[in-house]
């Protein structure tokens, strides 16, 4: 399995300034064959959606530790929709309480990866999700 030819945007919305997790996943995705773009810290959902469109990515990974993930996810999805880009998949990573998972899935998130998951499992799931795209 490989992510060769897939374009993935790793985005850091919200106010927290920790992007170690985002960088780890970015490197792991690259090693799995993907072309990875990273937004840098503290980007707005509107900005993230526009970069996703300009870069024509297959998926956006939102890395979040700040707790405002529900708003950020719904806003990002909304902006993507406005840009006629609802086919771009959204993954969420970081500290996401169990209780929020169902709601996020319902909103349209394709995968939720909490910090306790093994990277190899995360990659496997992303590969599966994008293969059917």
């Amino acid at each position: 399995m490989s992510l060769e030819g897939k374009r993935i945007l790793i985005a850091k919305p919200g106010l927290d300034g920790h992007d170690v997790g985002a960088k780890v996943i970015a490197l792991a995705l690259r090693d799995a064959g993907a072309d990875v773009i990273y937004t840098g810290l503290r980007k707005s959902p509107d900005y993230i959606a526009r970069v996703a469109v300009d870069e024509d990515v297959d998926a956006v990974g939102l890395s979040m530790l700040s707790g405002s993930h529900n708003e950020i996810v719904s806003e990002t999805l909304l902006h993507l929709k406005e840009l006629d880009a609802s086919d771009i998949k959204i993954f969420v990573g970081g500290t996401i309480p169990r209780d929020d998972h169902a709601g996020l899935r319902e909103a349209g998130v394709s995968g939720i990866y909490t910090s306790d998951m093994a990277i190899a499992d995360v990659l496997k799931e992303i590969e599966l999700e994008l293969r059917n795209a």
Binding site: E4, L29, R30, D35, V36, T39, V53, D54, D56
Partner: protein
């Protein structure tokens, strides 16, 4: 920016992906009629980490100041092993990537080894027709031997560093005569003046007739926004010079030549990888002829 324009943007963006992902055969089959006039193209090249993306960011913010629109194609290297890449140029262009008049596309080099990416020529052609005023191409960080960008752009900017002593040596021996504008970046670091003087000296040693372009040597630093004014002006000057002096036919032919060469390189490499080792039985001449047959596209 209106929603309508952005929808258009999505279409353009997807069209670019199709071009980027096309195989050699697809590229040749789908090739559009070459436009008579192409957008003005600026190429920025130089060693890894020399500051190409940072310069583009500073430059673009000046160049779209008056409402014009710029597209940036920024190439980063693909891992030959995993084929993956971290496309890190965009993050250095943070300050302009919010500007609706700026479009940035990060591109992995894929199979190319010449500082450009697969299908770069077609990607540049694809940028026509979207109301951009100019296109800026950032090459992979390369050493001194890669000048492919020359064939595809109008103005070549070579970025050097205060410690680029080896580049100066290369210039002395004449290898490094490919740029229209030399930029000593990170001129806030020690040694910048020295290297600028050396390069100026090398450039001045040559004689330029009145219809030739005399390369300019400039210093920039991201600690000084003003240092990019001179670069901005030098680009405009070169653009004006090109309008008067460049033989358009010659330019078109050089671009086609580059494109054919890069398509053949890629196709040959692909085919060689597909061939089993057994197929290399025999003398090189026979294998060579077998490969040539395979290269033909029906």
């Amino acid at each position: 920016m209106s929603g309508g324009k952005l929808n258009n943007r999505r279409k353009m963006s997807q069209a670019l992906s199709r071009v980027a992902n096309a195989s050699v055969v697809e590229t040749l089959k789908n090739q559009k009629e070459l436009p008579k006039e192409t957008l003005y193209r600026i190429g920025i090249t130089g060693a890894p980490g020399s500051g190409k993306s940072t310069i583009i960011s500073n430059l673009v913010s000046k160049r779209v100041d008056n409402g014009s629109r710029a597209a940036v194609l920024a190439i980063d290297p693909s891992s030959p092993l995993t084929k993956g890449s971290i496309l890190g140029d965009r993050i250095r262009m943070d300050s302009v990537s919010n500007d609706p008049n700026v479009f940035i596309r990060s591109i992995p080099s894929r199979r190319s080894h010449d500082g450009l990416a697969d299908n770069t020529a077609d990607l540049l052609w694809e940028m026509e027709g979207y109301e951009f005023d100019e296109v800026i191409l950032e090459t992979v960080g390369v050493g001194q031997a890669e000048y492919s960008v020359r064939a595809l752009v109008d103005t070549v900017i070579l970025v050097l560093l205060p410690e680029s002593g080896d580049a100066v040596q290369a210039m002395k021996s004449g290898i490094l005569e490919m740029a229209d504008i030399y930029v000593i970046n990170k001129s806030d670091l020690p040694g910048a003046e020295l290297i600028a003087a050396e390069i100026n000296e090398i450039v001045s040693r040559n004689t330029y007739s009145s219809n030739e372009w005399k390369p300019c040597v400039l210093s920039t630093s991201n600690h000084s926004v003003e240092s990019f004014n001179a670069l901005d002006e030098a680009i405009d000057e070169h653009r004006e010079w090109i309008k008067k002096s460049i033989d358009k036919e010659h330019e078109r032919r050089s671009r086609v030549r580059y494109q054919v060469q890069s398509l053949i390189n890629r196709r040959a490499e692909e085919l060689l990888e597909l061939m089993s080792l057994k197929e290399f039985d025999g003398r090189p001449k026979e294998v060579y002829e077998k490969l040539i047959k395979k290269l033909l596209i029906k």
